[in-house]
């Protein structure tokens, strides 16, 4: 009887040790697999806990024309409980065509934004097409969608991003 009991306990301990070893190996493998495309749909809406919220009205975007001197109003709100200061805003205007990555960059800074306060920041942007069209891939460039990407960051680490895609 004692032998059977010892055998059973030994088996259980061995099973336990093997399972723990497999768990450790599985966790090591999990960290090495970063950078893979998840099965789920990529987030078109960001579920960030940042107190900063950016707003680009689609009605306003509709009125933008592909030329210089376009006025873009960016809404910004502090939904947190603490004041935000020195909010850096970086707006990049790029073409969808990655072979010709022309980027027009614009910068603004908002000194402070109190809790639950909102403000509007104005950018004057150039949406004119590149001149002259060139190279093999220029023929499809007129069909490329235009991208407006705004990133807001604060020294405290709060951040937000908003991307607008304009159709030709």
């Amino acid at each position: 009887v004692k032998g059977v009991a010892l055998w059973a306990l030994g088996t259980a301990v061995a099973f336990l040790a093997t399972a723990v070893a497999f768990l450790l190996l599985a966790n090591l493998g999990g960290t090495a697999a970063s950078g893979l495309i998840p099965q789920a749909k990529p987030s078109d809406t960001q579920s960030s806990e940042s107190p900063l919220v950016l707003e680009l009205s689609e009605d306003q975007l509709e009125g933008l024309e592909r030329r210089s001197g376009q006025r873009l109003l960016l809404g910004m709100e502090n939904e947190g409980d603490e004041e935000l200061s020195s909010i850096d805003l970086a707006l990049d205007v790029t073409s969808e065509n990655t072979a010709r990555p022309r980027t027009r960059s614009y910068r603004e800074t908002v000194d402070q934004l109190a809790p639950n306060e909102s403000t509007t920041v104005e950018f004057e942007i150039d949406l004119s097409p590149p001149i002259p069209p060139e190279a093999n891939y220029a023929s499809t460039d007129s069909q490329a969608r235009e991208i407006l990407e705004v990133k807001a960051t604060t020294p405290e680490g709060a951040s937000a991003v908003k991307t607008a895609v304009l159709v030709p």
């Binding site: 259980a12 399972a19 495309i37 078109d44 680009l56 990655t98 072979a99 891939y137 990133k151 607008a164």
Partner: protein, 432 residues
């Protein structure tokens, strides 16, 4: 005594179960078989484990790329681990489910088409800047076929990319990847008497095998049979004056012989490359003047089948009378045909799979406001025949704002989608 023994055995069993079951549960949770705190973005759960998501193409479809850029010509390597594609004229490749990719050509290379070779190198077609001085009436714009060596194979510091064949009018590969055939116009060819030669490439550093038997006419589309023994071509041949007619020709590699297997009626043209299947040669054709000017809309194109020895193409009845075909691609085993098209002119573009043995058509996608690329190059099978890759983007009627960086967005830009094509429900002809 007997009862005390059994009580002891029961106690041991209870201790064993108490120890083993939690450990078993932990192990299963670690393997992702029980619900728990999964790390999305780090691991890829199996298709059945995650919540049902619809990317606009129906259930089970999975994204293979993100971000801006005009992507096309997706191809999975023969081992099924990597995908190569053309991104804004550059050739790029990456592990299938990795987010980052590697560009394999210089910026603005102008690549139109990429295919895997047996040594994991790539072959790509890029248009030649200079135009062939043989007139312009029937000669297609020539391209050059380049070989791209596999990573790290260049030990002497030489370029990874080499021009292999010039004046290429068409190229195609074996369905599972690994061998590429290209048709080039020799310098002796003329506008009045156009002819071409076929070259076969298997490795990026292997010599090209050129077949001496010439092909009469201008080859506009080419693919290799699933068994790798021959090629089937769409050939445009001048008849008289300004007229030309399309033919389907086959090339047997072992014999070096070329045969005309069908001649299309005057005014009809073949779209893309014919496909050599277990159910005969299939191709998409329609009235050459039937399209709207300046628009490659395949509104009038039909899927045809050419049975061995018949010489007379017939419309494929299994797809339905109103079916509008755009592009086709044969499966690696040759028994199915992926078809991008529309059930009727008013229905959305979807991916269908035609079972060639039974003649049944199955819908693989359920398009919900997606713009699916219909170029014949933008369709590819996985080597195991379980999935097809297509290229699509969301339809935008106006500007749209997203709460995410452009690099992590998929639907606004052309991206690669993996579509499962096994165990599909059979599409009824009346469904639109």
């Amino acid at each position: 005594m007997r009862s005390s023994k059994s009580r002891l055995a029961a106690s041991v069993a209870a201790i064993f179960a108490a120890l083993a079951l939690p450990v078993l549960a932990l192990a299963l949770a670690g393997c992702g078989l029980l619900p728990g705190n999964t790390r999305e973005g780090e691991t890829i759960p199996p298709a059945s484990a995650g919540p049902a998501t619809d990317l606009g193409l129906g259930p089970g479809v999975r994204l293979l790329s993100f971000g801006p850029g005009d992507k096309g010509s997706p191809r999975v390597n023969p081992s099924g681990e990597r995908v190569a594609f053309v991104l804004d004229g550059d050739v790029a490749k990456k592990p299938l489910y990795a987010q980052s990719f590697q560009r394999r050509t210089a910026s603005e290379f102008g690549a139109e088409h990429a295919e895997w070779l047996t040594d994991e190198g790539l072959a790509t077609l890029s248009p030649q800047n200079e135009t062939a001085d043989r007139g312009t009436r029937t000669m297609p714009n020539p391209s050059s076929l380049f070989g791209i060596r596999p990573d790290g194979s260049s030990s002497d510091g030489s370029s990874d990319i080499a021009r292999i064949v010039e004046d290429v009018t068409a190229a195609g590969a074996v369905p599972g990847g690994g061998a590429v055939a290209a048709v080039a116009i020799p310098s002796e060819s003329s506008e009045e008497l156009a002819w071409s030669r076929l070259a076969l490439l298997q490795g990026s550093e292997e010599p090209v095998r050129t077949y001496l038997r010439s092909i009469k006419g201008s080859v506009t589309g080419l693919s290799i049979s699933p068994d790798g023994r021959g090629a089937v071509m769409a050939v445009r041949r001048d008849t008289s004056g300004t007229e030309s007619r399309f033919e389907v020709q086959t090339y047997q590699f072992s014999e070096g012989s070329v045969s005309r297997v069908a001649r299309l009626p005057r005014g009809m043209e073949i779209l893309g490359a014919p496909q050599w299947t277990q159910g005969g040669i299939h191709f998409v054709a329609g009235e050459a003047d039937g399209q709207v000017a300046g628009d490659r809309s395949p509104a009038l194109y039909t899927l045809y089948r050419l049975l061995p020895g018949s010489g007379e193409p017939e419309p494929v009845r299994g797809v339905g009378e109103d079916f509008v075909a755009a592009s086709i691609r044969v499966s690696p085993d040759g028994d199915r045909l992926a078809v991008v098209g529309r059930r009727n002119p008013g229905s959305p573009t979807n991916l269908y799979v035609l079972d060639l043995a039974s003649g049944t058509l199955e819908a693989a996608t359920a398009n919900d406001n997606m713009e699916v690329k219909t170029n014949p190059l933008d369709l590819a099978w996985f080597p195991d025949g379980r999935y097809v890759i297509l290229v699509a983007r969301g339809v935008l009627s106006g500007p749209k704002a997203y709460d995410a960086p452009a690099q992590s967005l998929a639907s606004p830009f052309y991206n690669l989608y993996r579509v499962p094509v096994t165990d599909l429900p059979v599409e009824r002809e009346s469904e639109g």
